[in-house]
């Protein structure tokens, strides 16, 4: 037995402890910390205070119309205006969804931007996206935008092999020329450090960002450069002890505390190539970066970006309150996206058709007793999506009972016992036992069976 062994006697009780401080059901489960987070940087321990998340102005920024659109055929102007309107409704008056960025290259891009601004929403603020060439910068001025992102690729893969610069200095000078031009025109730039998790941090990234910070000292605060850390290939890692350039804690620490980029001018932009995208975004918040860049349903280049709706629930879990967010709009957005041809897998969290649908009979039995047993939070209240069951050979009479009662809208003592629907349970059972069925039973099929096999209840609850 290890010397660290500690006895844990059973704490017997006849009353359940449902840990409701964390799992209070009316909100997503809260993320509560019980101490500082420690990371060793350059050989010494550095503390990060997660409690500060409650008071820091952390935000979500959106790139559905930029990175999100790189993963699909272009949206129409009307579609983008509708999505923008819903994003404003979702993020609420406090601007939890603080900004969204637009391409500025085509007439349609600019028309969309104008129509979105005509809606008069304070949030999300519209910003632009350009490459680091002076010619593109004209587009920002013409669009009368206060802020634009600018692609400043920073790994040697990009500097030498894509952009064909002769040296890092030539690259940095070129970027800084455009920054100077932006200052002169009174436009704030957000430098997108493309491929930062595969870059030489000490040799190029920190010298470049330090130079940007020094340049920013010469202009009014509202023009000071922002930094977007772009984990372009999804190489970023959130857990402690990882070395640069892949370490998210170390990257943020270096920017924030060594070269002086304040948290409110730092943004994390991730990609999902290694399934780390959402957790990496949340880690960026934790370690001092105030903005996490996201796209609706994670749609983005290749494997996608942090899913915006996931960031929304993470935000609430960290803050411990809704902060003006209207979560039900997530369901509305998903329905709209489906209606314009965006595929959302059935098992996709929060919005997939089956995200809170249980199939196993024993799970359905649990749901019947207390929906909290197999539902992540009050999805009826927060998403307009009551927990459901899909019937298969594993569903049993409990699954049938849950489905039928939900279908009739019966709650509490009104609910019918499973004995009242034994004929439907038999029909479901025989589908698999006698007929060798291999697929789940659709709602439409069940509805038909309930009508035929439970006519007295159909008449009572659906008739007239």
């Amino acid at each position: 037995m290890s010397e660290n062994h500690k006895p844990y006697p059973l704490v017997d009780t006849t009353e359940p402890n449902l840990l409701e401080d964390t799992f209070n059901y009316s909100l997503p489960p809260l993320i509560r910390f019980d101490g500082p987070v420690v990371e060793y940087i350059d050989g010494r321990p550095v503390e990060f205070d997660p409690a500060a998340l409650k008071t820091r102005d952390i935000v979500i920024t959106d790139t559905t119309f930029r990175d999100g659109q790189q993963a699909r055929p272009p949206y129409t102007v009307d579609q983008m205006v509708r999505i923008y309107d819903l994003l404003a409704k979702l993020g609420g008056p406090n601007g939890v969804i603080r900004q969204t960025e637009f391409f500025l290259y085509t007439a349609n891009d600019r028309k969309t931007l104008d129509r979105c601004r005509e809606l008069g929403h304070k949030f999300p603020e519209c910003t632009g996206w350009i490459q680091a060439v002076k010619g593109d910068f004209r587009l920002v001025k013409e669009a009368k935008l206060k802020e634009s992102g600018m692609l400043t690729s920073c790994s040697d893969y990009h500097i030498f092999h894509k952009l064909k610069f002769k040296s890092r200095k030539a690259c940095m000078d070129s970027y800084c020329e455009v920054v100077d031009a932006a200052f002169e025109a009174g436009v704030r730039l957000r430098c997108h450090l493309e491929d930062v998790t595969r870059a030489d941090i000490d040799g190029f990234v920190l010298p470049f960002v330090e130079r940007l910070m020094r340049m920013s000292e010469q202009v009014p605060e509202e023009l000071s450069v922002k930094i977007r850390m772009c984990d372009t290939m999804g190489f970023g890692v959130s857990f402690p002890g990882v070395e640069l350039p892949r370490s998210i804690p170390k990257l943020i620490y270096k920017f924030n505390r060594e070269v002086g980029v304040p948290g409110d001018r730092l943004e994390w932009h991730g990609h999902n190539d290694f399934h780390k995208v959402h957790a990496n975004g949340a880690a960026a918040w934790l370690y001092g970066c105030d903005a996490v860049n996201a796209t609706l349903f994670g749609f983005g280049e290749r494997t996608g970006n942090p899913p915006l709706e996931g960031a929304i629930f993470e935000y609430i879990a960290l803050k411990g309150e809704l902060c003006g967010i209207n979560t039900e709009v997530i369901t509305e957005l998903a329905e709209y996206m489906r209606s314009i041809g965006l595929p959302i897998p059935d098992n996709y969290p929060f919005v997939g058709k089956a995200f809170n649908t249980t199939r196993a009979g024993i799970h359905a039995g649990g749901l019947r007793n207390d929906e909290r047993i197999y539902n992540i939070f009050d999805t009826t209240e927060l998403l307009g999506r009551p927990p459901r069951v899909a019937l298969t050979d594993k569903s049993g009479a409990d699954g049938v009972a849950l489905w039928v009662n939900d279908f009739f809208g019966l709650k509490g003592d009104q609910r019918l016992s499973k004995f009242k629907m034994h004929k439907v349970a038999r029909w479901v059972n025989d589908q698999y036992e006698k007929h060798g069925r291999m697929t789940a039973i659709s709602d439409e099929e069940l509805e038909q069976q309930v009508k035929e096999l439970m006519p007295e209840y159909w008449e009572k609850y659906k008739g007239g």
Partner: protein, 80 residues
Amino acid sequence: MDKNEVQQRVVKVICQVLSVDEEMVKPDSHFVFDLGAESTQSVELVAAFEGEFDIDMDEDAALEVQTVGNAVDFITKCLK
């Protein structure tokens, strides 16, 4: 209704629903292990008892009944 009559009608229902011969059905016969009632059949059996005796049975309590004799007692109690 006396307990004897309840027992006769319970046995009749069991034989119909589970397709077993009457001589197999004894007071200590276990619905699952002796009479082969699988999950859906157990629900059908209780539903058939409800129909036969025109009663509503508590869901959890009814499914805790495991033998024929217990079923007779349970239904007799319900009828009172």
